[in-house]
Symmetry: C2
Subunit: 421 residues, 2 copies
């Protein structure tokens, strides 16, 4: 008998029929002898519909009120799920973030969890009932107002509750079978990864793998919560995200290939090559609330004393960054700005690359053989990322996946496709 936290996203509870399906799954887990705590998101498109309503009454709604509005979504899904479970003969009670003891800071719209005190959840489990908790929300204790956790909030709620309850595992239900060595829509021969370490998963998530948000993986790593990413449409084992130091875990050199199409590149042309100018550029961008990713500074042309500085950033922050830089042009003294949102980023991730020299050489050779030009490079201890043209990104991902022997063998691919395993 284990204590299991199960998290279901909006698409898993999109309508009454889906909610009944989730209820059946929860009841099966409960009847197998486990204690179950369920975390749910708002139904399907509810959040988008509420945002649309807010836009209709106010172009810039106060964030406190926005959070009150959005948290109506989980009230609806959580109470309906409790009813559906009750209807199957198992007692279930739903709780808001506040009632579940999810304490946050007071940054409405993107609050951070600062503590979890789930005494009501523990009482509910002790009575043999299923506890259902609203994902994505918490309470600002200084005012007793509701807060929302921002993107990836429900996964984070689930992992935080699992940590506070010392749950045996946190199951994140999704529409894919787990974490893959690459996006199967681009690389049909991609394999499901059975186990992956927190660090590798974090790099995968930060590099564009959408199955988990970096924030949730960070939380799981900090509190050592085993996370089981699995499909809500099958009962097959998915991917276990766990401690890399686990001695039972065989470490492959490469965990997978991630890709990201959501970044853009800004090149600041003709920057005077004197100390402080680069620092000034990044101060201005940071001051606009924009996080930058990769940076390249060209070698200065001796004749002019000018250099170019390129960096990547989320394309959604492009306008903010360019207008902040333009406003500061007199101080920085650059000649012009170039903006390019037709780039792609490929990342090769693997904890084993620390102890295996030659990984980057092999990566560059594979891309070169495939005729793909590399525009920027950055590395961490367990990751190498390169920027390419957006329209050659898919070819790049396939070439690298093959070069590092990540493709499934023919038979395995067939078995996979045949049984949905």
């Amino acid at each position: 008998m284990a204590l299991i936290v199960q998290k279901f996203g909006g698409s898993s509870v999109a309508d009454a029929a889906s909610i009944k399906r989730v209820a059946k799954r929860v009841v099966e887990t409960k009847k197998a002898g486990h204690d179950v705590v369920v975390v749910v998101s708002a139904m399907g498109d509810t959040t988008d519909e509420l945002i649309d309503l807010a836009q209709q009454v106010s172009p810039l709604p106060p964030t406190r009120e926005m959070d009150i509005l959005l948290t109506a979504g989980e009230r609806i899904s959580m109470s309906l799920l409790a009813m559906a479970i009750h209807n199957l003969g198992v007692e279930a009670k739903s709780f808001t973030g506040q009632q579940a003891g999810v304490i946050t800071d007071e940054v409405y719209g993107k609050a951070h969890i600062i503590d979890v005190t789930p005494s009501r959840i523990k009482d509910t489990i002790a009575r043999g009932e299923v506890a259902i908790v609203a994902g994505f929300q918490g309470v600002n204790p200084s005012t007793n107002d509701v807060t929302t956790l921002g993107r990836g909030g429900s996964d984070t709620t689930a992992v935080a509750l699992a940590a506070a309850l010392k749950a045996d595992v946190c199951e994140i239900y999704t529409d894919v079978d787990g974490v893959f060595t690459a996006d199967p829509r681009i690389v049909p021969s991609a394999r499901k990864v059975d186990r992956i370490g927190y660090d590798e998963m974090l790099e995968m998530a930060a590099s564009g793998a959408k199955v988990l948000m970096p924030r949730c993986v960070e939380y799981a790593r900090r509190y050592d919560v085993p996370v089981h990413v699995r499909s809500s449409f099958s009962t097959h084992t998915g991917t276990l995200v766990t401690n890399q130091e686990d001695p039972s875990m065989e470490q492959p050199i490469i965990a997978g290939v991630a890709h990201d199409r959501s970044e853009a590149k800004i090149t600041v042309v003709g920057v005077p090559d004197v100390p402080g100018k680069a620092a000034r550029i990044f101060e201005v961008v940071a001051g606009a609330g924009v996080n930058i990713d990769m940076i390249v500074q060209n070698v200065s042309a001796a004749a002019t004393g000018l250099t170019d500085i390129s960096f990547t950033l989320p394309a959604s922050d492009g306008a903010k960054a360019t207008s902040a830089l333009t406003a500061d042009q007199p101080t920085i003294g650059f000649q012009s700005l170039q903006y390019d949102d037709t780039i792609g980023k490929l990342s090769l991730i693997g904890a084993g690359m620390k102890s295996h020299p030659g990984v980057s050489a092999k990566l560059f050779a594979a891309l070169s053989e495939a005729g793909i030009n590399i525009e920027m490079i950055s590395t961490s201890e367990i990751r190498i990322s390169v920027v390419t043209r957006a329209d050659s990104l898919d070819d790049a991902v396939r070439a690298v996946h093959t070069a590092f022997d990540l493709d499934a063998e023919e038979t395995e691919a067939v078995v996979y496709g045949g049984t949905g395993r």
Copy 2:
């Protein structure tokens, strides 16, 4: 400068455009120098849609979860209204029933308010901001779970808050101009009543006038809260419901004619005319959770020792009452049951009838002249009610309205119709 509680129902906040209209009205009141607390219901059909969702997942949902579900509705309307007011340049904050200090008992689905401790609302007013409070909801303090107040709940929230805040007036916005001497759809010459006492309003509401729920009027009477019933589509003065002892208030003999089509009549035929049988009948009906209204017992036929007992009850409780009585037939020993849901009830209400004899004689004469048969009669100190056939109810209301000189004069009716006053 006054403290005004304004209550807007679901149809006043049915969509974004309506919410913006309500916001404008609130801001106008605020800018006229008053402190404003707003109570809102859920948007338009939200509650019905949520009930429908619940029915889809469970035929008998637990009441605690039902209340969690339904209270999502006011979260949405209250936060949107706060945004819309903010957008007009006035600060506004929305609060749940719990945050506003609306403490109830723990009867989910039809909780009663047991205390109101609106410290956050007072703080908000003191800061010069508009406080918006979710109607229809409170908190069960023993578990900190949300409760709903049942039918007429939002009006009751508004009056209870007005009482706790010692507000100068509680304005209930509706789709009519106020309380009328009769339903204008039946009596086109009905006049708007400028002032009415709590007792008369209570009898009107209990007798079928739908503009206010009896529960809300009772609360207002207990705490002496002046209630202003007015239209959300105009700025005209509506009807002030206030203390009858107010010396400035001229008391007409008759306040108005109410009617009710929602009742049914059960006749228990052939009841042994021995002590305890009538009591047993009403015990059985009360035990089924049904409230009865009027009762008539026929004179016993000496030859048989049997009598008939008729009573009226809400038609929606008809099935419950008849099956409870049928189950108890062996004990009561009656011969048969007759069920009739084609009845109508007319009530004449007026505090002045206490000191003016002859009111009932005039009423019966008017009905007789109009050829309307009276089936049952009941009276209180300030009300006379009669049961008629349902299809003669409209004629009865018109005849009585005219007989008691309640019809507006021609010119007044034209002015009213012409300007929407």
